[in-house]
C-alpha cells in the first residue's frame, strides 16, 4: 500500500544507483590506498625489523662439541683419550610399529623386557623427529648382532658419540680423576654457553684441575628449523646462508707420571689399602701417585648406575678416597730425621754423644713412663744409630729438650701441616700441632692445655701430628735435595692442536734455610744406615744404588664403630699403619718416595719392600743396571 503511493521511477533509480556506485568506487580507492599504506609501513618502513625477526625464526645454532684434550704420561703413553661409543637410537616417526620393534630388541637381548614400558614412555615424550637413545654403551658384539637384523628395525640405527676412555683402567685413577655428567653444582661455575653440547666434565684429579685446557672451545653450526623445531635441509627453494664455526679441540696434557713405575707401585700395594707417592726432588715432578683400592674411571664417563655408585660409596675400603692426597695419618718415626735436624740446627744435640736406651724414658718432673714403640732396648746409641734403628727413647729426650714450639717451627718449612700445592685439588693439609692450635681446637679448658707428655709423643711422630703420603714424599724430597722445596706437580707440559708441547716450568718454594751441610750429612747418614743395617735393611739388600730411608709406624687409636665391621675386620683395622720414606741415589737423588700401608703393621716389613720395588722400577733398566741419569727422565 505504502509502495502504491509512490511511483517507481526507473530513470531516477538508475541515477541513484550510479551515484552510489561512484561513491562506493571512491571508497574502494580510499580503502585500497589504506591497505597499501599499511603494507608500505610493514614492508618498507619496518622491513629491517621484520627481516631480523624472520631470520631469528628459522635459524637455530647447534653446538659442535670440541674434542677433549688427551692426557699422556711423561713417556707419551695415553692415559685418557676419546673413543666413539656406540649407542642404539630411535627416530619415533620412522618406526612403523613401536611395540614390534621393542619386542624385537628384547629378543635380540639389546634391551631388558622390564625396561620396555619406561622406554616407550620416554619415546612418546620426545618430538617425533628427535633421535632417542634406547641403548647406551653397546659392545662390539651388540653392534654386530644388531647389524645382522638391522633391516627388521626401520627407524633404528647405531650412532656414535664421543666419550672418555681410559686405556689403563684403574691405574693412576686418583691422579687422573675422571669425567662425568655435568651436575647442577658444576653448572654454577662454568660458562653454560661454552658447555652447550658438552655432556661430560672433569670431576676429580687432572681431569678436573685442568678442565679449562682440556675442554677446548665448542663450535657451532647454524641449522634451518621449521616452526615445529624440526631440522630441515631445504624447504621450497629456500636455502639461506648457514654459518659453521669449527670447534677448537682442547689441549693435550703431558703428565709427570711414569706409568711403568705407577703400575709397579699399584701392583706392589696389591690388596692393601694404602698409597705410594714418588717424585723428583729436583723439580717436583710426581712420578707415582697411587692410592689403593681404586676404581674404573670409565664407569663415570659412560654413566654410572645407582648400584655401581652405591657399591663404591658403601665399600668400607673407600675406593673413592684418594689416600695419597687426602689420607691423613700420624707420621710415626718418619719424623725422626727432621727432629734430629732441628736438634742439630738449634745446637741442643751432640750427634756423637751416646744416649743409653733401656727401653723406657722417664719424663723429668712426671711419673709417666714412655716406652719404645716396639718394645726392646737399644743400649748406647749416638744420632746415626738412633735414626737407623729408630730409637724412640733417644728422640723422647731430644723432643723434651727442644720443646714443642721449636719442633713445630722447624717442621713447618718442610711442609708439615700445610698443603704442598700440588696441581690437582682435594689435597688435605694434615696437622702440625702447637699449644696455640690446641687452645683453639678444644672447647673444654682442661683439654686446651698442652702437656709435656704430648711433646714427647710429638718427637716420635705420634699424637696429634697428621701427614699425608704426598706430604711425606715431599719431605723426603726436601731432605734428599738438602732443603730444596719444589711444589709437586702432575702436569709438566701442554700440547696444542699442532703437536707443539709447551713445557711448564717447575715452581720452587722457599728453601729450608739454616741447616749446615754437615748436619744434612749426619741425618742422611742415619737414613742410609736405616736402609743399610737398620730397621729396613732386609728390604734393601744388594741394591744397585745407594738408598736413604726411614721407617715409621703410625698408631691407630680408634676405628669407626660400625655394625658392618665384623670382629676380624675390626681386629685387622686396629693394626698400626706402616710408613716408609726414602730417596735414591743418595749422592745425586733422582727419586723420593713415601709409602703408606694402612694397618700394615711395621713400616719395615709392609712399606719398605714397596718402596724398593718402586725405586728399582724407576732407577734400573731391564738388565737391573742403574740407568744413566742423563737418559733417565
Amino acid at each position: 500500500m505504502v509502495q502504491g503511493v509512490r511511483i517507481k521511477d526507473h530513470w531516477k533509480e538508475q541515477r541513484l544507483f550510479e551515484r552510489r556506485a561512484l561513491v562506493a568506487g571512491a571508497l574502494i580507492v580510499v580503502l585500497t590506498l589504506t591497505l597499501i599504506g599499511r603494507l608500505y609501513l610493514l614492508q618498507v618502513m619496518r622491513h629491517d625489523y621484520y627481516t631480523e625477526l624472520s631470520q631469528g625464526n628459522g635459524i637455530r645454532t647447534e653446538p659442535i662439541p670440541a674434542a677433549r684434550g688427551l692426557i699422556l704420561d711423561r713417556n707419551g703413553q695415553l692415559l685418557a683419550g676419546n673413543q666413539p661409543a656406540y649407542q642404539l637410537e630411535l627416530v619415533p616417526e620412522e618406526v612403523p610399529d613401536l611395540n614390534a620393534s621393542m619386542q624385537g630388541l628384547v629378543k635380540l637381548g639389546l634391551i631388558d623386557a622390564d625396561a620396555v614400558d619406561e622406554l616407550r614412555r620416554m619415546i612418546k615424550s620426545r618430538r617425533p623427529f628427535d633421535s632417542v637413545p634406547v641403548r647406551l654403551r653397546m659392545s662390539d658384539e651388540d653392534v654386530a648382532r644388531f647389524a645382522v637384523h638391522r633391516f627388521e628395525f626401520p627407524g633404528l640405527d647405531i650412532k656414535t658419540r664421543q666419550t672418555r676412555f681410559y686405556p689403563e683402567g684403574e691405574l693412576a685413577v686418583h691422579a687422573l680423576g675422571y669425567v662425568g655428567a655435568i651436575s647442577e653444582p658444576d653448572l654454577q661455575h662454568i660458562d653454560r654457553a661454552a658447555y652447550s653440547g658438552t655432556a661430560l666434565i672433569g670431576k676429580l684429579g687432572v681431569e678436573s684441575a685442568y678442565e679449562k685446557q682440556l675442554h677446548g672451545g665448542n663450535g657451532y653450526r647454524e641449522i634451518l628449523v621449521n616452526a615445529l623445531g624440526r631440522s630441515v635441509q631445504r624447504q621450497g627453494a629456500l636455502m639461506p646462508d648457514l654459518h659453521t664455526h669449527a670447534p677448537a679441540a682442547g689441549d693435550d696434557l703431558v703428565l709427570s707420571l711414569d706409568m711403568k713405575v705407577e703400575a709397579v707401585a699399584e701392583k706392589a700395594l696389591g690388596d692393601h689399602r694404602g698409597a705410594v707417592v714418588a717424585l723428583n726432588p729436583k723439580n717436583g715432578d710426581v712420578y707415582v701417585l697411587a692410592s689403593r683400592p681404586g676404581f674404573d674411571p670409565s664407569l663415570f664417563a659412560r654413566g654410572i648406575t645407582n648400584n655401581e655408585y652405591a657399591e663404591l660409596t658403601d665399600n668400607i675400603d673407600k675406593p673413592l678416597l684418594n689416600r695419597a692426597l687426602r689420607g691423613a695419618y700420624p707420621s710415626g718415626s718418619t719424623i725422626k730425621p727432621v727432629v734430629a735436624l732441628a736438634g742439630l740446627t738449634y745446637h741442643v744435640l751432640n750427634p756423637d754423644k751416646e744416649e743409653f736406651c733401656a727401653g723406657v724414658y722417664h719424663l723429668p718432673g712426671s711419673t709417666r713412663l714412655f716406652r719404645e714403640g716396639k718394645g726392646g732396648k737399644h743400649g748406647h746409641v749416638a744420632l746415626q744409630d738412633a735414626i737407623a734403628k729408630s730409637c724412640d727413647v733417644y728422640f723422647y729426650g731430644l723432643a723434651a729438650t727442644l720443646g714443642v714450639n721449636r719442633i713445630a717451627a722447624f717442621l713447618a718449612p718442610f711442609g708439615y701441616g700445610a698443603l704442598t700445592g700440588i696441581d690437582i685439588s682435594g689435597e688435605k693439609p694434615g696437622l702440625l700441632p702447637t699449644p696455640e692450635w690446641k687452645k683453639l681446637a678444644f672447647k673444654r679448658p682442661a683439654d686446651q692445655v698442652w702437656f709435656p707428655g704430648e711433646t714427647i709423643n710429638f718427637g716420635v711422630g705420634q699424637g696429634y701430628l697428621l701427614v699425608t703420603p704426598l706430604q711425606l714424599a715431599h719431605v723426603a724430597g726436601v731432605i734428599a735435595s738438602r732443603g730444596l722445596n719444589f711444589r709437586p706437580r702432575l702436569v709438566i707440559g701442554v700440547r696444542d692442536a699442532n703437536g707443539v708441547v709447551t713445557p711448564i716450568a717447575p715452581i720452587a718454594g722457599k728453601r729450608v734455610e739454616g741447616v749446615s751441610d754437615a748436619d744434612w750429612d749426619r741425618v742422611i747418614n742415619g737414613m742410609v744406615g736405616a736402609a743399610g743395617y737398620g730397621t729396613a735393611h732386609a728390604s734393601f739388600k744388594g741394591t744397585a744404588y745407594s738408598v736413604a730411608g726411614k721407617t715409621g709406624t703410625a698408631q691407630v687409636f680408634t676405628v669407626a664403630q660400625n655394625a658392618k665391621y665384623n670382629e676380624k675386620t675390626v681386629e685387622e683395622r686396629l693394626r698400626d699403619h706402616a710408613w716408609f720414606i726414602a730417596f735414591a741415589p743418595v749422592e745425586a737423588p733422582r727419586i723420593a718416595v713415601a709409602v703408606l700401608v694402612e694397618n700394615g703393621g711395621f713400616g719395615a716389613s709392609a712399606a719398605a719392600p714397596i718402596a724398593r720395588e718402586v725405586m728399582d722400577a724407576f732407577l734400573l733398566d731391564a738388565d737391573g743396571k742403574l740407568k744413566d741419569p742423563a737418559q733417565a727422565p
Binding site: V2, Q3, R6, I7, K8, D9, H10, E13, Q14, L16, F17, E18, R20, A21, A24, G25, I28, V29, L31, T32, T34, L35, I36, R38, L39, Y40, L42, Q43, V44, R46, H47, Y49, Y50, T51, L53, S54, Q55, N57, G58, L224, V225, N226, A227, L228, V232, Q235, G236, A237, L238, P240
Partner: protein, 378 residues
C-alpha cells in the same frame, strides 16, 4: 606489409570470434580475464604456500573448474527466473541452517557442514548469495529509496540467517552475509542519516554483543589490539603474518623462498593467511599487483551492474561486486594487522572449495544479469 595486414586482420578476426563465442555463452570477457588472472596468480602462490604440494594444486584446480562450471551454468539462467526463485532459495537456505544448527546442538560443537555423502555442503555459503538475492527481490517492485517499513522487513530478512550462522558459531561468515544483504540496501539508496544512525546503533549493539561472544572470539578481538599479549596463542597468527609481510620488503624473497611460509612459522599459510605468503615472497609489488587485479575485477563488476536495466539486477549486481571487495579488504586487513582475525579467505586465492565455487557462482549470476539485459523488462 602485406603479411602484417594479413596477420593483423587474422588477429582481429580471432578476437571477434572469441567475443562472439563469449556473447553466446553469456560471459563477460573483461571480467573473465580479470578473474582468470587472479585465479592463476593464486595457483602460482598456492604451489609455494602449500609446501609444493601437487595434490593440493590439483584439488585447487578442481575447485576452480567446479566454480567455472557453476559460473557458466548460472550465466545461462534467465535473470527473471533467478529473481522469482530467490524467495525459495532463501527459505531453503534458512531450513538447511536450522538443520545444521540442530545437528550442531545435539553434537555439542561447531557445526557448519551438511554431509550429503558424496559432497559436504555448507548452507552458510548459499546464504552469501541467497540473502542479497532475497533483499534485491524484495526491493525489485518497490519504489526506491526504501521506506522505513521496508527497512524493518529487510532487517528481519537479513537477521534470521545471520543469527543462525552466528550461532554455529561462525562470526566471520555471519558478518559477510550481513554485509552482502546490507549492501543491497545501501545501493538501493538508504539515506545517509539512517546509515549514521544504524552505525551508532551497531556500536551499542557491539557493546552488548561482547557479553555474548565466545571466549575465543573475545580473545581474537583483544589480541588484535595488542598481539604481543599472547605471543604463542591467539597473537601468534598476527605476529607471524606481519613478520612474513614485513620481511618480504618491496621485491619479496622470491617464489618458494619465504622462510616464514616455507618453515611453517606462518599459520594457515595456504588458506586464510596466503596474503602474507604473497607479501613475503613477492613483496609490496606482488601485493600491489594483486590489489590492482582485484580493483579491476571490482570495477568491471560494478560497471556491469550499472549497465543492467532493472532494480533486482542492479541491486544484486552491485552487492556482489562490493561484497567481493569487502572480502579482499577484510582478509588483507586482518593479515596485515589492520583488522581483527576473522575467518575470511582471500577470494579466488585461498585454498578452499566452498568459497571458490560460491564466488564464481556469484560472478556467474552477475554475468547473467548483464548479458540478458536486452531480454529483460516488460
Amino acid at each position: 606489409m602485406y603479411e602484417e595486414v594479413t596477420s593483423g586482420s587474422r588477429t582481429r578476426r580471432t578476437l571477434t570470434g572469441t567475443a562472439r563465442m563469449l556473447a553466446a555463452l553469456k560471459l563477460d570477457g573483461a571480467l573473465l580475464v580479470g578473474l582468470g588472472l587472479v585465479a592463476v596468480y593464486g595457483l602460482v602462490v598456492l604451489y609455494s604456500a602449500s609446501g609444493q604440494s601437487l595434490p593440493i594444486i590439483l584439488r585447487a584446480g578442481a575447485h576452480l573448474g567446479m566454480g567455472a562450471v557453476a559460473m557458466l551454468l548460472l550465466a545461462q539462467v534467465n535473470p527473471n527466473f533467478l529473481r522469482r526463485s530467490s524467495p525459495w532459495l532463501y527459505v531453503l537456505g534458512v531450513v538447511l541452517l536450522l538443520v545444521v544448527d540442530g545437528i550442531g546442538y545435539i553434537g555439542k560443537g561447531a557445526q557448519r557442514w551438511l554431509d550429503l555423502g558424496v559432497l559436504r555442503f555448507q548452507p552458510s555459503e548459499v546464504m552469501k548469495l541467497a540473502v542479497p538475492m532475497m533483499c534485491a527481490w524484495f526491493l525489485h517492485e518497490r519504489a526506491l529509496p526504501p521506506t522505513v517499513g521496508s527497512l524493518v522487513i529487510l532487517a528481519a530478512l537479513i537477521f534470521v540467517p545471520v543469527g543462525l550462522v552466528a550461532l554455529q558459531p561462525d562470526l566471520g561468515t555471519a558478518a559477510l552475509i550481513a554485509i552482502a544483504g546490507s549492501l543491497v540496501i545501501v545501493m538501493a539508496g538508504l539515506k545517509v542519516r539512517i546509515m549514521a544512525g544504524l552505525a551508532a546503533l551497531g556500536a551499542i549493539a557491539g557493546w552488548f554483543g561482547w557479553a555474548f561472544m565466545h571466549d575465543y572470539q573475545k580473545k581474537r578481538v583483544l589480541t588484535f589490539f595488542d598481539p604481543n599479549t599472547d605471543r604463542l596463542g591467539a597473537g601468534y597468527h598476527i605476529i607471524q603474518s606481519q613478520i612474513a609481510i614485513g620481511s618480504g620488503g618491496v621485491f619479496g624473497k622470491g617464489w618458494m623462498h619465504g622462510s616464514q611460509a616455507q618453515l611453517q612459522f606462518l599459520p594457515e599459510r595456504s588458506t586464510d593467511f596466503i596474503f602474507a605468503v604473497i607479501g613475503e615472497e613477492f613483496g609490496l609489488l606482488g601485493l600491489a599487483l594483486l590489489l590492482l587485479l582485484y580493483a579491476f575485477v571490482v570495477a568491471r563488476a560494478l560497471y556491469l551492474a550499472m549497465q543492467t536495466q532493472d532494480t533486482f539486477a542492479r541491486l544484486l549486481g552491485g552487492s556482489l561486486a562490493l561484497t567481493f571487495f569487502v572480502y579482499v579488504f577484510i582478509n588483507a586487513g586482518m593479515v596485515s594487522g589492520l583488522l581483527p582475525v576473522v575467518g575470511v579467505p582471500l577470494p579466488l586465492v585461498s585454498y578452499g572449495g566452498s568459497s571458490m565455487v560460491t564466488l564464481l557462482a556469484g560472478f556467474g549470476i552477475l554475468m547473467s544479469l548483464y548479458s540478458h539485459r536486452k531480454l529483460m523488462g516488460s
